[in-house]
């Protein structure tokens, strides 16, 4: 699957790193590093992480892109 994080929007709450630790990792205090192409077996984790993001910075292919204004 393909994901991208809007790191302008990301404020380092690290919810994604708790919910999908194989995909999202905090690097230092608040910088986020993530795997932009995680395997399908992670999709449930990733969708949960995207839903939990307090600033809705995570875009998952086919999921959130309908919000293009």
């Amino acid at each position: 699957m393909r994901i991208v994080v809007d790191l302008n929007r990301c404020e380092g709450y690290a919810q994604c790193a708790f919910l999908a630790p194989d995909v999202f990792v905090m690097h230092g205090q608040e910088a986020l590093m993530y795997d932009p192409g995680p395997g399908e077996e992670r999709s449930e984790q990733v969708l949960r992480a995207a839903a939990a993001c307090p600033v809705q910075a995570i875009t998952v292919e086919g999921e959130v892109l309908s919000d293009v204004r």
Partner: protein, 464 residues
């Protein structure tokens, strides 16, 4: 046919060509479809890959955590686009509304979106740039090659230029345990983008992480061995440095050459467009069927005295492409201005750096939160008595607050009490930017005056 009927007809079965298949091109195409455009939509890109994300290339990818070809951008489900990838646009005929391609093909359009972005500025001597071990970092291929070389464990990596890309590369090298020397012409890393005060923090961070940082020095030449492999670099202070890998981080060049002679106001600083993303022609007259978005665009911003801004920012590409797409399929009063407040981030040496506004416009700064020596702070930049920008180190949650100060032209020095104000108080000090007339690879925001046409601008490459 009335204008409204013509627009409706265009939305239904018009022809849109998007030139540029990176972030802005993709987001523009998506926004056109989301906005109800059902005509033909062609996206042209010179790289053979599907649109991919670049920020990870200097971070996750160089750390070996993510494959260089794994940053393909997510897309709208079922995006109906005719992709022309792996072929560059080579010319534009405004009168006949036609884009010519490198393979000889021509594509006609009713409306055009230019999103050709920028490319890495190459090392200025071609023979030296061609040495095995000399890299730039802009594309996924660049990142793949560089990552492979770093994984082989070179004895020393030389990074030429301490802008954001160079600094991130140095950070990745240190994290991999590689010896790295950074050579920067200016007095500090990031100085062109953030000024000397914050630049001094960046310098301290680099050195604390074991980077051999040399400021006020330039690389004068790169030397190879008989087999054409990089061996050493010669520096302007007379010293030499043995290195097996050199990464040239001297900023970006805007991809406007294909527009030469087209009649559009295109030049080294980008393609000028109005706040609605419509391109200007060389006479300063706005076109109505050519739109511009992303790194290649240069557009006036009301918050900054309507000066033309060129922004090499991820968020700008997204926002401007969406505005351009909306305006391409809207008329008159339904059109929207591009009022986005410039913002970007960088992750290096374990610190999350965020910027909002236009720091290089700042005359003075105040540390409004935290302390410089703690590597965790917010610095606010002032211009003519108002807040013009803020830069945060590991304080991302405050950026939105400062964005509102910038948008409301809040007074500078700021008048708010601060929970963690330190003994030093909030006395403004000079922001300490280098002379803007000196060529610099640093700023990712370029202010380029009020004239849409660049006919009088001549680009003079820096001398070694």
């Amino acid at each position: 046919m009335s204008a409204e009927t013509a627009l409706r007809d265009f939305r239904r079965r018009g022809r849109v060509v998007v030139v540029g298949a990176s972030l802005a091109g993709l987001r523009g195409a998506e926004a056109l479809r989301a906005g109800g455009f059902t005509g033909s939509l062609t996206v042209v890109g010179d790289e053979a890959r599907e649109p991919y994300d670049r920020p990870p290339l200097s971070k996750q990818v160089l750390l070996g955590r993510t494959a260089a070809d794994a940053t393909t951008l997510p897309r709208r489900h079922g995006l109906d686009v005719r992709w022309r990838l792996g072929v560059a646009a080579t010319g534009l005929n405004l009168a006949e509304r036609r884009v010519s391609l490198a393979d000889g093909d021509e594509i006609e359009y009713d409306r055009l979106l230019i999103a050709t972005g920028a490319r890495a500025r190459p090392w200025f001597r071609e023979a030296e740039a061609a040495l095995d071990g000399v890299f730039v970092l802009r594309t996924a291929d660049d990142a793949a090659w560089l990552n492979r070389r770093l994984a082989a464990g070179p004895r020393r990596v030389l990074v030429v230029g301490a802008g954001f890309t160079g600094s991130e590369i140095a950070s990745a090298c240190r994290e991999r345990g590689l010896e790295v020397t950074v050579v920067e012409r200016g007095p500090a890393p990031l100085v062109g983008a953030l000024g000397g005060v914050v630049g001094a923090v960046a310098a301290r961070l680099q050195r604390a992480h074991g980077v051999d940082l040399r400021c006020g020095v330039t690389v004068t030449s790169l030397e190879g061995d008989a087999a054409g492999r990089l061996r050493r670099a010669h520096l302007s202070d007379g010293s030499t440095l043995d290195a097996e890998v050199a990464v040239v981080g001297l900023g970006a060049v805007r991809n406007t050459e294909w527009l030469a002679g087209s009649g559009l106001a295109a030049g080294p600083r980008g393609v000028a467009c109005d706040a609605g993303c419509r391109a200007f022609d060389v006479h300063g007259i706005v076109t109505d069927d050519v739109f511009v978005a992303g790194d290649v665009a240069r557009s006036p911003h009301p918050l900054f005295g309507y000066q033309f801004l060129s922004l090499e920012h991820w968020g700008n590409a997204v926002e401007q492409a969406e505005i351009a797409a909306h305006n391409m399929i809207s008329s008159g009063l339904a059109r929207r201005p591009h009022l986005w407040v410039p913002a970007f981030w960088s992750a290096q040496f374990g610190i999350n750096i965020k910027s909002i506004g236009v720091p290089p416009m700042g005359e003075e700064i105040v540390v409004t939160q935290g302390a410089l020596e703690e590597d965790r702070f917010v610095v606010t930049y002032g211009f003519q008595g108002r807040v013009i920008a803020a830069v945060a180190f590991d304080q991302a949650r405050w950026i939105d607050f400062y964005r509102r100060l910038i948008e409301s032209a809040a007074p500078f020095p700021p008048d708010f009490p601060n929970v963690d104000r330190r003994a030093g108080g909030t006395r403004p000090v000079p922001a300490d930017f280098p002379d803007p007339s000196l060529p610099s690879h640093g700023p990712t925001v370029t202010l380029s005056g009020y004239s849409p046409s660049e006919r009088r601008l001549q680009f003079t490459p820096a001398r070694a």
